[in-house]
Symmetry: C2
Subunit: 529 residues, 2 copies
């Protein structure tokens, strides 16, 4: 009935059912991440038709904004991502009633779950002769692929088909498995111990997801996986070896500060505690961190225990401090970094930072004066916030911004360092200029007053690439950065020397298309960042 | 927009906006309890217009069912509760699209919260000279009142205005306060220590509620209250002294067995654990019991901890076993009683019983052969199920129906006993005949083989009353039963001798209208049933 009604009203906007369907697809791919499936807004603004009309946004005005961008919104037209007829369609679509997003039940997950290689048929020790702990899993975003690259030889080991727009990879505690999660809610396990990397299991867990992790506490290593979903807003616990669904828990709920009810209360980042059999799930719109205890899942009659901690709203991504006790997470729309203590299960601090912090997992090092610190860059500020993280050894700096580093541009997505490197490296993939997109900067970790070394990556601008995501190899001697270009253009990954910042080599080939995140097995498994 | 659409379609069914509003009111009062606000069904069937049409239920067929009843559904027409024009309206209403139920936010609760007597102005010791521990709080259901009656003298002490259709009263651990919850989601606190009973605080917690309790664990007595809501489906934690809202947690979520998502996942009964600072909340449609830890609510940065235990679906009402360790709760639509161990926080058993068990809080006693037992009657079966509850002393009987007692009729709502009474008493207020409605039965607790003593209450049928709810006085020497008649008719409460079953007296007066539940302070505070 609701579908018919929405259909009828969409027709009133001049959209055929086919156009409505196309609008839904485009909206889901380009808009929903920031504005929400229900268009109620999150990082982006509210886009409900009533709101747009109240704001006086006509079809023409909307077309102009989609074409040219506005504030933090990309210029979808100018960037060539949406064509003029698609922009026409989207303006009409946005003025039509919000279609009800589809459901995805536990039964749906079960039906869309496949074990390609049963656990009994998997190797019990590594069968590859390569140094698999130094493999990199490279996301080929728009190809729906993950490439496994040998970090020692830089050879392509294997390309594996994955879901659409893979968001991240996470490693099992022993590093053997890569867990993949895509924006289409498809999760996969890649086994790196096979003769060649093999997709051993997959499950379509939801319709939109951003995070995955596994049980890492002693005695539970690899027993369970958990996927954090955007739509439906929930988390799903799966068998860690087969991805068989075990438990689905809704996160729909209330905004902590106002009590407004949210159907879209999405699970952003997830980490696995080292202090207890718990996952730390960040519930975005509502403003809570949930500690989910997985230790009783296999005990009949026992509960799943969820500890709900109030935080700032709009939690997004984050990472551990150096001690792996404190989890620092960006509350991006309110310009804060929140700190959760995994040991005591409590909220520790809300730290004001710059505009739209985006740490990825952040960067950790020991500063000569401030002691252990963690840092985040920002999407909408030309700043890197360095935060003291050692309340015992350096209480005067703990949970304060000890240094706000000026950068050459906003538009940073990732910063990274490694205990073996003297440098803190930053990218600028969402900066407003192609020059900045192609540029990387490095600061001396021990001397933050000193001007950074910045360089434009040769060849990047030629293919309209944005340099994105910094990841070190196992021994920390080099770091890799992806040149994220268009799907039609073969691109490259640059390998730099960790000490000299000199380019050592490039990973190229026809297969290198839309590379984005690239995760080193050892560093990912051991939370080294 | 959605409202406009529903309005437009309702018009298509021939309903004016005023009629639609009237339909919503009648539906909410008479239908929603069993069929759900969203009409998706629970104890009653699904009533969505698509379903009714698919089942071939025309407007005339629906009118006939509302008039004459069907299965467990009352004959609303024949009983004179709905008039013919209201039945016409309801048939049209049910074939119209389901209107979106209103929201109720934390801000709404705050705005509708009032402290009539601040804590500092309340007495620090009883100022009444009456034996307040033997007060009865009598619900005058359709009057929107609670009467406080002196259990010693049988005098009316005070009538207090409460919300619409008060569902239950619960006592604070010390018995001083009655906590009231009505079907309109209004909660009140009545102070029995004042010179005369006084309404000291109230809050409109939600739009439909059924349960309330307070923190009873040592050190937390009376610190918090919790209300379980039907709509919106959630629970709300309030200050135990003032009802100031503290925390609202949604229970919308998944059916545990199928993964279907439920907006209407209602909180049925609540009890307060004696083993830990936890409440036990029964989540009806989804099939879970939630243990909610209230011990960290006052600690900054600390979580609210929810332990989610899978159970049968359609949990409704229930009570403690004699040891107050095990909570027994009816899963009424699936003919089960589930057992939760409050000490270990786990699901213990699912016990098949009769059709639609309705224990209220049940009845506990020590049987000479079976040891400690707990019993429930049934709405749709002429049976009382007696269940063994002593896994240590009588393991062979534990969590089994040790005796299924035949009763003279289905339609039982409450059974009750007291350690000082040799009798197990049952009412039949929802039985199909006026004779049964006016009748009470009593079994010898120690000799369940023996035929019961049954008697029709003189005068009950004359006023079309249904005898309902049995409650003992403080010393267990007598029990009270309400004659639940029409609002226009003064009615009575009969007081019986606990040993001889002889009528001792009647509580009458113009004020005794629609009396239903009547709660003794001492027995309610101490969970004696």
């Amino acid at each position: 009935m609701a579908v018919l009604l929405v259909g009828a009203l969409a027709l009133a906007q001049g959209l055929t059912p086919e156009q409505m369907e196309q609008g839904k697809q485009i909206y889901f791919q380009q808009c929903a991440g920031c504005h929400g499936v229900l268009r109620k807004g999150a990082t982006g603004k509210n886009l409900e038709p009533e709101t747009l009309k109240k704001e006086g946004l006509t079809e023409d005005a909307i077309k102009a904004i989609i074409t040219n961008g506005m504030g933090g919104m990309p210029a979808w037209g100018k960037l060539g991502i949406l064509k003029p007829d698609e922009i026409d369609l989207m303006a009409k679509f946005l003025l039509s009633p919000v279609p009800e997003p589809p459901a995805w039940t536990f039964e749906d997950i079960k039906k869309n779950w496949k074990v390609h290689v049963p656990v009994s048929q998997r190797p019990t020790k590594p069968e590859t002769t390569r140094n698999w702990q130094n493999f990199f899993g490279v996301i080929l975003r728009d190809m729906g692929q993950v490439a496994i690259v040998d970090g020692d030889t830089k050879e392509l080991v294997k390309i594996l088909p994955t879901g659409y727009a893979t968001h991240i990879l996470r490693s099992s505690k022993d590093g053997r498995y890569f867990y993949v999660i895509g924006r289409d809610g498809r999760a996969e396990i890649i086994d790196l111990w096979s003769k060649e990397p093999t997709l051993v299991a997959e499950a379509k867990v939801c319709l939109d997801a951003r995070s995955i992790d596994t049980s890492k506490y002693e005695g539970y290593e690899g027993k369970y996986a958990v996927v954090g979903c955007y739509w439906p807003s929930n988390f799903v616990i799966l068998d860690g070896q087969t991805l068989e669904p075990i438990k689905m828990v809704s996160t729909q709920g209330y905004v902590q500060s106002t009590g407004e009810f949210l159907r879209e209360n999405r699970v952003a980042s997830i980490v696995s505690s080292h202090f207890s059999p718990e996952w730390i799930l960040n519930i975005k719109e509502g403003g809570q961190t949930w500690l989910v205890d997985y230790s009783k899942l296999n005990l009949k009659g026992k509960p799943i225990v969820v500890k709900m901690i109030d935080t700032d709203r709009f939690l997004h991504d984050g990472g551990w401090d150096l001690s792996k006790r404190y989890f620092l997470v960006a509350a991006n729309a309110v310009k804060k970094v929140d700190v959760i203590d995994a040991k005591t299960g409590s909220f520790v601090a809300s730290i004001p930072v710059g505009n739209k912090p985006h740490p990825g997992r952040g960067a950790n090092w020991v500063h000569p004066e401030y002691g252990p610190v963690w840092a985040t860059g920002h999407i909408k500020d030309n700043k890197i916030a360095v935060i003291g993280t050692d309340p015992e050894g350096h209480p005067q700096y703990a949970w304060k911004v000890v240094k706000m580093i000026e950068t050459m541009s906003p538009g940073n997505l990732f910063i990274k360092t490694h205990p073996k490197s003297p440098w803190l490296i930053a990218d600028f993939p969402v900066a407003p200029t192609p020059e900045a997109n192609a540029t990387l900067c490095a600061w001396e970790k021990d001397n933050l007053e000193k001007d950074p070394v910045c360089w434009e990556v040769p060849g990047a601008r030629d293919i309209h690439a944005r340099m994105v995501h910094i990841e070190f190899n196992k021994d920390g001697s080099e770091f890799w950065v992806s040149a994220w270009a268009n799907k039609d253009t073969p691109s490259f990954i640059v390998v730099y020397d960790s000490y000299t910042l000199q380019e050592k080599t490039r990973i190229t080939g026809d297969w290198v298309r839309t590379p984005t995140g690239h995760f080193n097995v050892y560093n990912t498994a051991n939370d080294i960042y």
